[in-house]
């Protein structure tokens, strides 16, 4: 791990021990931020004053010898769909321009309690709909490894901030791969937790039954620590759950790994395939036992995902009408129908509008059973198949993304774009945890390998991913 910067634990220790002039350190980093971010554009909002003030306050407590939190002095980028009180939350949409949440998301409360320092709000695809971070209203985020390419999405800003060392940690949200995709494209570690493990209170929703806030960092151990801090049952989120004791696997020796055949389908770029199979071989060298397996219902997983996600989104986004927050309605509009339509039509981007219309369709009278209910049934089948697979395997493995990071400006149809999510959406549909870990480069571009475990099997993921990262450092 010599090449990587300090771990979070080490940083927090140094800050607590008074070995760092935190205020100066933070101030100088934030001073350089605009220059650093000029090309990448990871941030929509840099919280300069707030961060320096936090640093000052933490420093005071350190000087007094008080015990500090586990994130003492550690910098974080927060995806702009997560509410931080007093900081804008736009979801990269014009319809939320001017919206400043009057409350902190639960995950933010937990970060503050551990003395983490929020450097700013990270760019994303508008309302988390996308896998490139190019659809936002305030410009795209570029891949720090190749500025001509996308950073991935929808948590592109979060992943890029970490990859470019602008912050140590980041929070994203993963509805269909939105943490794992940018993690893969930016060569960092990103986790989508078990559904319900992390509170969604304060996370502006795209699709409620699919998404989770996910930690992003360069090291697996830092992702693990951040997950530990942000997870937990929350009375304010009725879908959050108490962690049930999952079978924890320590180390890689004797680990049963299943390679999912369907994840290595036709659309996989050759460089990606090679790197991921190499990663699998690496695990075998460490003592794992790998076999191919097939999960047939993956055939309709992507369709099921989009039907459910768009349906939920179409309803979640109804509240944006310019009356109570965000972009304002035109003054003196005569007809309320026209007024609502004008605001929404002008302030939502193309992709968002497309998904709202599709979601409206699949929920509408006469189509609800054929689409939405069918998709939910498909989900149950998929869940059952994964459950069976986990009887034979401890970990399921495959490429995170079937492709290398595309170039900005590559034209694809909406459907072609959706198809790229094929490997990441199953974990969201089923609710199991999934982590993307860097699996080297090919042709100068990052590849990510995806590991999945049963519900609440995050510890297993950290153990295996950590061992892999250590071995390949």
């Amino acid at each position: 791990m010599g090449k990587l910067a300090l771990s979070v634990r080490e940083t927090a220790r140094r800050v607590s021990a008074g070995e760092v002039n935190l205020e100066e350190h933070v101030a100088s980093r934030l001073e350089r931020m605009p220059r650093m971010d000029r090309d990448v554009h990871a941030f929509l909002y840099v919280a300069k004053e707030e961060a320096i003030e936090r640093a000052r306050e933490i420093q005071k407590r350190a000087n007094r010898g008080e015990k500090l939190g586990r994130l003492a002095g550690v910098s974080l980028a927060i995806k702009d769909n997560i509410c931080v009180k007093g900081m804008p939350a736009t979801c990269a949409s014009r319809i939320l321009e001017g919206f400043v949440p009057p409350y902190d998301a639960t995950v933010i409360e937990k970060i503050r309690r551990e003395d983490g320092i929020i450097f700013g709000k990270a760019n994303m695809d508008e309302f988390a709909m996308g896998n490139t971070t190019t659809s936002g209203a305030f410009g795209p985020t570029r891949n720090p490894w190749d500025l001509e390419r996308v950073a991935g999405g929808s948590s592109g800003g979060s992943a890029a901030a970490v990859a470019a060392s602008m912050t140590m940690l980041a929070l994203g949200s993963d509805t269909g791969g939105s943490v794992r995709c940018p993690a893969s494209y930016c060569s960092v570690v990103g986790l989508k937790p078990t559904y319900g493990a992390v509170s969604r209170y304060g996370v502006i929703p795209y699709a409620n039954s699919l998404e989770q806030v996910g930690p992003i960092a360069k090291r697996v151990e830092d992702v693990a620590l951040l997950f530990e801090i942000i997870s937990g049952l929350d009375a304010r989120d009725s879908t959050s759950a108490r962690r049930t004791a999952a079978k924890r696997i320590e180390g890689v020796k004797g680990l049963r790994v299943g390679l999912i055949k369907e994840f290595f389908g036709e659309g996989i770029q050759e460089g990606v395939r090679k790197n991921v199979l190499d990663a699998s071989a690496e695990l075998d060298d460490l003592g794992a036992h790998t076999e191919w397996t097939s999960i047939r219902s993956l055939n309709y997983a992507l369709a099921a995902y989009y039907i459910v996600a768009m349906a939920e989104a179409s309803s979640n986004l109804s509240r944006y009408d310019g009356v109570r927050y965000g972009a304002s309605l035109e003054k003196g509009s005569a007809d309320w129908n026209a007024a609502f339509s004008k605001t929404r039509t002008e302030c939502f981007g193309t992709e968002v509008k497309r998904r709202i219309l599709l979601g409206t369709f699949v929920l509408s009278a006469g189509y609800y059973e054929a689409y939405y209910l069918k998709a939910q049934r498909a989900r149950s089948l998929l869940r059952a198949e994964f459950k069976r697979a986990f009887e034979d395997f401890d970990i399921l493995l495959g490429p995170t993304m079937p492709v290398l990071p595309p170039k900005l400006g590559d034209k694809v149809t909406p459907l072609e774009d959706y198809l790229i999510d094929v490997n990441t959406v199953p974990a969201n549909l089923v609710g199991i945890p999934s982590i993307s870990v860097p699996a080297g480069f090919t042709g100068g571009l990052p590849v990510g390998v995806q590991l999945m475990a049963p519900h609440f099997g995050e510890e297993t993921l950290f153990s295996v991913a950590g061992a892999y990262q250590e071995a390949t450092a």
């Binding site: 109804s318 007809d335 309320w336 609502f340 219309l357 369709f361 689409y371 149950s380 149809t413």
Partner: protein
Amino acid sequence: MTKSKPRITVEDVRRLGALAKISTTATEEEGLRRELASILEYFHVVDQVGDGVTIDELKWDAADLRHDEVGPSDPDGVLKGVPQRKGRLVKAPRVF
């Protein structure tokens, strides 16, 4: 509904727009129609799933629900973000 290709028309696009309060220009409508049609056609792969499959659902015990105890409101925090107000009332378009 039938298992055949969904025939989505420009009328449908307008109807959806009316339900979702999103308006489309004539030029946009045909393009949207084609996009939606191709995506919906792709969705039909879920037809493979039988209607008899039970849908999983999350469940809570009634006894574990929130107690009926008053907590703090936040009128100032909430009103601060309202774009157009008249005193403490929120301004909205007139409804017939």
